[in-house]
């Protein structure tokens, strides 16, 4: 099974999900701002704006939900080895996510149905409940994703294989049982799901995880949650900002400025929280928990010194930027220890016998040092891509931040800064064109960092799917059809058609007037 042809397919689904989830997170903030203004001012323009964005949100939510379904099914179907994680580390977050998702949907429907029919504060309250559950969903899904980046609760297990890795929290697993499952799959040369699918196996193996909630209190998860949710919210707000700025650009109607102002203000405030604060803690977490990823993004083939990066990443300007040379060197700590030695030390024989007639002699001679070096080589091969992606992300985030600052001070008066902002707006084509261009820049300054950031996050943990523990080949489906050209073509076409078709439909919903209602009015006897 060539798992590498399935990774881009999964990535495509995740990216589309990310696009729609971003709007799901960002649009409620913009709609909420409009409802607030409508409540306080009574001006119907705000209600109309809220209605248009709600229609877009509804179509967007349907698309986000089905791409979420795709990603979820993609996990259990294309990567069925993940089922073992769903049954253990991801169980509690995913069961709690049902609370979030079901209530998110129910309150969204309630909001859509009652918008304009109930008082603004009631609509605002329903919207807030909906958004609260939506963000809670984001928290839980991010916790699950983060467990794959830093498998919290596995303690020193990854470090035992890769000495350069840190410990991942407390040891909440039964190490011999987990290792036996991995070794058995490795020895048999098939994915782990071939073992997991056996009826009665889980009863024989018994408890492998002792703390069901361990994935949720990882420090890496905490910072990832803030980073991902604020990042997604910013994208949604930027898209709304660009949409309304485009209308202002085309019409010059001042009413659109009333809509743009609160959205731009909220965007700028959130950006200040995200870029310098949350992103900094995210970087620190990567440096601490994903040493290969950090070396890749900093292009550190060799260890080097850079006071600024070191201060940002480690809080110490004298700390070296640890490169692959040191990581390779740490593999030597294994000496000539083999997998067979590990199996004997852990007493795996008893556990392997529970898994059936498993012969591990073919992998017993595998040296841990060779495994460590080989995996580092696989990681290092991705350095040009990861290093470029990371700095593209940083560059566009800076541009987005600058655009956000100009927009903010254009609308919010501050001595000196407002005059400067207005000069900049004027210099790039006057108020109508300038505001639109700046809004476009906020889109680029959030979307490109998000796209590049996800690439860094996901590709950066390779060659493992679960960092330091499991490879994609151990989790991939054994079904040959999954990599057949026919299935891949079908899957790509379906995803692309629905993704782009959905985006176009959202554009139509946002921009087209009702032109073909005569028949309906005739039927209803109203026109």
């Amino acid at each position: 099974m060539d798992e590498y042809v399935l990774m881009p397919l999964s990535a495509l689904g995740v990216y589309f999900h990310g696009v729609f989830v971003s709007l799901t997170f960002g649009l409620p903030v913009a709609i909420g701002a409009m409802l607030w203004k409508w409540w306080r001012s009574g001006e119907v323009i705000y209600l109309r704006a809220a209605r248009i964005m709600t229609a877009v949100l509804a179509v967007n939510f349907a698309l986000g939900a089905i791409f979420g379904t795709l990603v979820e099914f993609g996990l259990v179907q294309v990567w069925p080895g993940v089922n073992l994680a769903i049954a253990t580390f991801a169980f509690t977050p995913l069961v709690l996510e049902l609370i979030a998702f079901s209530n998110e949907v129910a309150f969204l429907i309630l909001f859509i149905v009652t918008l304009g029919k109930v008082r603004p504060p009631v609509s605002l309250a329903i919207l807030a409940v909906y958004a609260g559950f939506a963000y809670f969903s984001g928290v839980l899904i991010t916790a699950v994703n983060t467990w794959m980046q830093a498998p919290w609760g596995t303690g020193p297990l990854a470090q035992a294989l890769y000495p350069f890795m840190p410990e991942y929290g407390p040891l909440a697993i039964d190490v011999p049982k987990i290792v036996a499952l991995k070794v058995a799959a490795l020895a048999a040369g098939h994915p782990i799901s071939i073992l997991v699918q056996q009826p009665g196996l889980s009863g024989k193996v018994g408890v492998v995880l002792t703390d069901h909630a361990v994935a949720m209190y990882s420090p890496y998860a905490l910072v990832s949650i803030f980073h991902n949710i604020i990042g997604a919210t910013l994208i949604g707000l930027a898209v709304a900002l660009a949409g309304w700025s485009y209308r202002y650009f085309k019409t010059g109607d001042g009413k659109y400025l009333k809509i743009i102002t609160p959205i731009a203000t909220i965007f700028a405030v959130l950006f200040v929280i995200q870029a310098p604060i949350v992103a900094h803690f995210m970087g620190e977490a990567v440096a601490k928990y994903n040493p290969t990823k950090f070396a890749l993004i900093e292009g550190a083939k060799e260890t080097y010194y850079n006071p600024l990066i070191a201060w940002l990443a480690y809080g110490d300007p004298n700390h070296p930027i640890v490169g692959f040379d040191r990581l390779y060197a740490s593999c030597e700590k294994h000496g000539d220890t083999t997998l067979g030695d590990v199996a004997a030390a852990l007493g795996l024989g008893e556990y392997l016998s529970q898994l059936g007639d498993v012969d591990v002699s073919n992998v017993a001679a595998l040296k841990l040092r060779d495994l460590c070096v080989s995996d580092l080589q696989k990681a290092e091969s991705r350095m040009p891509l990861l290093h470029s992606a990371y700095y593209v992300k940083v560059t566009f985030a800076i541009l987005g931040g600058l655009a956000a600052a100009v927009l903010f001070f254009n609308f919010v008066k501050a001595p000196g800064l407002t005059a400067l902002a207005r000069k900049i707006v004027s210099a790039i084509g006057g108020e109508r064109r300038g505001l639109f261009l700046l809004a476009l820049l906020t889109v680029l300054g959030t979307v490109i960092p998000a796209v590049a950031g996800w690439a860094v996050r996901e590709i950066g943990r390779k060659p493992w799917s679960v960092y330091g523990l499991l490879y994609p080949s151990e989790l991939v489906t054994p079904v040959p059809y999954a990599t057949s050209p026919g299935f891949l073509a079908f899957a790509y076409l379906t995803i692309l058609a629905i993704g782009f078709g959905g985006l176009y439909a959202m554009y139509l919903v946002a921009t087209r007037e009702f032109k073909f209602l005569e028949l309906l009015k005739k039927g209803a006897g109203v026109g």
């Binding site: 209605r51 179907q77 379906t494």
Partner: protein, 364 residues
């Protein structure tokens, strides 16, 4: 409560609710697409209004229906790890068909509603048909899984040979009878639900259309239901026996309701000639209750087994998750919050359909 039983019961609850919602939306979606098509073809405004009214059922409930599909997936993977892994490794093609259909269906519903009146009617009709037809591919995928649970022909082939069975689930002798039974049931239910809804609005012509569709497919069920029942007797004797003994009271109630449904439907067709539609209000709830009972028989009667191999049953415990102690408080809290979501959804449906907050003619 035992975690394994809780998992089975939770899964059962999710399946039943999911099936109730899909039974409503698949049939009403088909009716709505047909009416929209007729409206454009004949330039008759009544069809257009009928299509829009029937569509309200979808726009309110389709996403919530999807929620229960997600709950099924999480319960399966979390509580019944081996079963889910075996199913995905074996029944890859049917599951892929179902997923592709879901991906087309749900956005097509949202797009149909929010572009109504904004794009060319002929294009809109096409989207409506895509929406309606794609829905029937969802059970085309998932009913193959159900057929295999009751008679694991393709799974058996896989376990014996190690070869993926590909399209073999569609040669399962239980599949086609189950699928056709399902298709007829959802169209019939959709017709009756639309009739009930329009009875609230005293729309005599609409009630007549809904009842006619519901009744024709209900009559088809008089052949398809027994056919499925006989095929269970031949290929899944354990389930057949449970349905006819332990679960016989439920089967009996279901048959009584079907009879009542048929009588009420005929009565409605007579009374609509006089412009009376009150009796039609009961058709939707009755049809939905037959769906619930049918699914309890099809799935619940399997307990304490999960998979049936002719006269042998593989108990639920064989597929259950023992990799960790299931955190029962987490599951109970989740079930309680699912109750909250049902309450919020019920309020939305009440305002949308009964209080008519969702306008037939969109506000400009």
């Amino acid at each position: 409560m035992d975690a394994v039983f809780l998992g089975f019961a939770g899964l059962g609850l999710a399946v039943v609710l999911h099936v109730v919602f899909t039974a409503m939306t698949l049939g009403s979606g088909l009716l709505s697409a047909w009416a929209r098509h007729m409206a454009v073809k004949t330039n008759d405004g009544w069809y257009e209004l009928f299509a829009r009214k029937a569509f309200k059922i979808l726009i309110v409930s389709e996403l919530f229906s999807g929620v229960w599909g997600t709950i099924i997936t999480v319960f399966l993977a979390g509580f019944f790890t081996a079963l889910t892994t075996l199913a995905t490794n074996t029944l890859f093609i049917p599951i892929a068909i179902a997923i592709a259909a879901i991906m087309v269906r749900i956005p097509a519903i949202a797009i149909s509603w929010y572009t109504w009146g904004k794009i060319k009617p002929s294009t809109h009709v096409l989207i409506m048909w895509i929406m309606a037809i794609s829905g029937f591919f969802v059970p085309f995928g998932f009913r193959a899984v159900f057929a295999e649970i009751n008679y694991p022909m393709a799974v058996g082939h896989y376990l014996q040979t190690g070869l993926n069975p590909g399209f073999m689930p569609y040669a399962n002798p239980l599949f086609w009878t189950l699928y056709l039974h399902t298709v007829a049931a959802v169209i019939s239910t959709g017709g009756f639900v639309v009739a009930s809804l329009l009875a609230l609005e005293k729309d005599v012509r609409g009630v007549k259309v809904g009842v006619r569709v519901g009744l024709v497919l209900l009559l088809a069920q008089f052949a398809l239901g027994p056919l499925y029942w006989f095929s269970l007797g031949q290929y899944s004797p354990l389930l057949y026996e449970a349905v006819n003994t332990t679960y016989a009271p439920i089967l009996g109630v279901k048959l009584l309701i079907i009879a009542a449904l048929a009588v009420l439907a005929f009565k409605t067709l007579t009374s609509v000639k006089r412009g009376e539609v009150n009796v039609a209000k009961w058709l939707g709830p009755l049809a939905l209750s037959t769906v619930v009972l049918g699914e309890v028989l099809n799935d619940g009667a399997r307990y304490p087994n999960m998979v049936l191999i002719e006269k042998t049953g593989l108990p639920v415990e064989l597929f259950a998750n023992f990799y960790m102690e299931i955190p029962m408080p987490v599951v109970y809290v989740t079930l309680a919050f699912l109750g909250l979501s049902i309450a919020a959804f019920a309020a939305a449906a009440y305002f949308a359909i009964y209080k008519r907050f969702v306008a037939e003619v969109p506000e400009q």
